[in-house]
Symmetry: C2
Subunit: 327 residues, 2 copies
DNA sequence: TCCTAGCACTCTATTTTCTCGATTGCTAAC
DNA sequence: GTTAGCAATCGAGAAAATAGAGTGCTAGGA
């Protein structure tokens, strides 16, 4: 258990280090506290013994350890209000009613990336409430068809398929069958239904049922799949902890790996903070993320930055966005 | 006019500099040529006077100037055959018939970016031959519609629109009108036709014609717009000329600016080389690009790398791809 | 028991100096 | 026209010197 004074010292070191990006010495602290630098040094030593602080070399000032950041965000961080300017900028997005949710998310996270210099990720999954509304097939050429699928929440997906030797009649029959049998089904159940209810039936009626089946299967897979977008990637370059080219390459590669990014999905409804090794992405970054959910969509938004991140501000901003979206 | 010997010296300096990334001294050259280093130095001095070579400092070896590279690509470069491995890798893409053209382009440029360590851009425009095939409107909710547009080449685009107070009847009337009047129109003429033939008519029939008109206008704009994709962006990090963070940031920002990238479009049918200041993108890079054109699509593919680029190889690879695509 | 002044010590970061080696331009001779 | 020889230049890197920030420890005072 830390004393009040230890807590203030830890807090100062974290905030000053976040602000200045240089190890914090005892003198800086003792100016703000009513005690001598020697006293501060003694306390710092104890905090270091507790694993909350670290030194970069034997006679350097202290920087927070991951455990120190963790203590800070769990016990010491105070959420400030968003500044008027921040609110103003974000409002331009939220008050624009003509935008779709995914645009709202991307634009607001662009703003956040912009004002914070961190990188954001939007992981956009279709809501489970999304139901199949309509399937349509448009012939565009001899043997070439486009299957178009629409959900009741307005999601549209399409796929081109090539079928030689299948008559338009057969295709239409299949489409009608699908429309009759699975319209209204939640999208994440569609694939199963397609396999077990539609496939056996069309296998009898339709000659090239495999091709048809596969095409629709693909469309349904696309439509129920997650969509991930990275915003403000170049902001990585703005932080001194990412100043060597191989580290930059490393992080950029990770941010390009969409499949891996889909794993950041957060079920939990809070603002969650994963510091350094606590996240699976990279031990040198902190990921702050939260889940959002509306009738139409659900997903995860995340902010990624160095461990020396402006925790208060990011938590506030994410919280604001989450509330606005979930309205 | 350069002498034969001057040309071989220039050629050696360019190829050696491309290979080793270090200024090339007279000794390296004179080993390969039947003359002394002093002779080579005399020639180098003349080449420098002609603006074909440069020094990094007073007693350094020589590097090619932009003019030197230009002379090299115009007069000295010899195109080698693609290696068996290169052809093999690319063939896996071209022999895969189930891929759409845009996938073929992106994948083959991924391979090229991979084996060359350069960055590629695919600028994919819809062909002028692309004609409107069908327009469809799907109501998804009270007041919310999705407009779906399909072209005869199988391009699909959609847009959600919100119209309160317009009856489904009116919408259907508009759709029928559009279908009747402009199906078959090349997509780049659709916008004009929409404005001058459709708009005046629906203005009479339909109450909220503005909203309907705008929605369709947006869809048609999307469908006829260019699509640009950057492949292998992180390869920028592999070249020593891009080793400082602010330069990296600079180039990455440019590669993220899709609007600017659309300007790389190349009308000319050759393989075109823009060295340093010859390109509008960045004075430190070389852009090699070519136009491609099939019945369905047309566009531009470009390779971007440092000026010290493996010109022969890139030209060959681009040429190979262009021929494969245009079949 | 807690706090603090004082001090030797450690280490970084920066500047300076030095040296090595690569390469040049020039000159004079072939 | 070519070449050998040579002084001069400069970069890159090592080594040395210096300044400054910050620490840990000790001993005395509240």
């Amino acid at each position: 258990m830390l004393t009040k004074r230890q807590e203030s010292i830890l807090k100062m070191i974290v905030t000053e280090y976040i602000r200045l990006a240089k190890p914090v010495g005892s003198k800086l602290i003792c100016d703000k506290l009513n005690c001598s630098s020697a006293t501060v040094r003694n306390e710092m030593m104890q905090l270091e013994d507790l694993g909350l602080l670290e030194k970069t070399h034997i006679s350097s000032g202290r920087i927070p350890s991951e455990k120190g950041y963790r203590y800070y965000v769990d016990h010491l961080m105070q959420l400030k209000e968003l500044s008027g300017e921040e609110v103003y900028k974000l409002e331009t997005v939220f008050k624009n009613n003509s935008l779709e949710l995914s645009d709202v998310l991307n634009r607001s996270l662009e703003i956040i990336s912009d004002i914070t210099s961190y990188t954001s990720i939007v992981l956009d999954a279709k809501s489970h409430d999304n139901k199949l509304k309509e399937i349509n097939v448009v012939p565009v050429d001899k043997d070439i068809l486009i299957a178009i699928v629409v959900t009741d929440q307005g999601v549209v997906e399409h796929k081109t398929m090539e079928i030689s030797g299948v008559s338009l009649e057969e295709v239409k029959k299949t489409v009608k069958l699908i429309n009759d049998l699975i319209v209204g089904t939640p999208i994440d159940e569609v694939s199963a239904k397609l396999e077990f209810e539609i496939k056996p039936v069309i296998a009898k009626y339709v000659k090239q049922h495999e091709i048809l089946y596969n095409a629709f299967y693909d469309v349904f897979t696309d439509i129920s799949s997650k969509n991930v977008n990275v915003v403000g990637k170049n902001n990585i370059l703005k932080h001194q902890e990412f100043s060597n080219v191989s580290k930059i390459n490393d992080i950029f590669s990770k941010l390009d790996n969409k499949e891996m990014l889909k794993n950041i999905e957060e079920k939990n409804n809070d603002i969650n903070i994963y510091i350094g090794h606590e996240n699976k992405m990279d031990p040198d970054v902190t990921v702050i993320k939260t889940n959002y959910k509306t009738s139409k969509d659900e997903g995860t938004i995340a902010i990624i930055g160095p461990k020396r991140m402006d925790y208060d501000r990011v938590v506030n901003l994410l919280d604001y966005i989450k509330k606005q979206i979930e309205g």
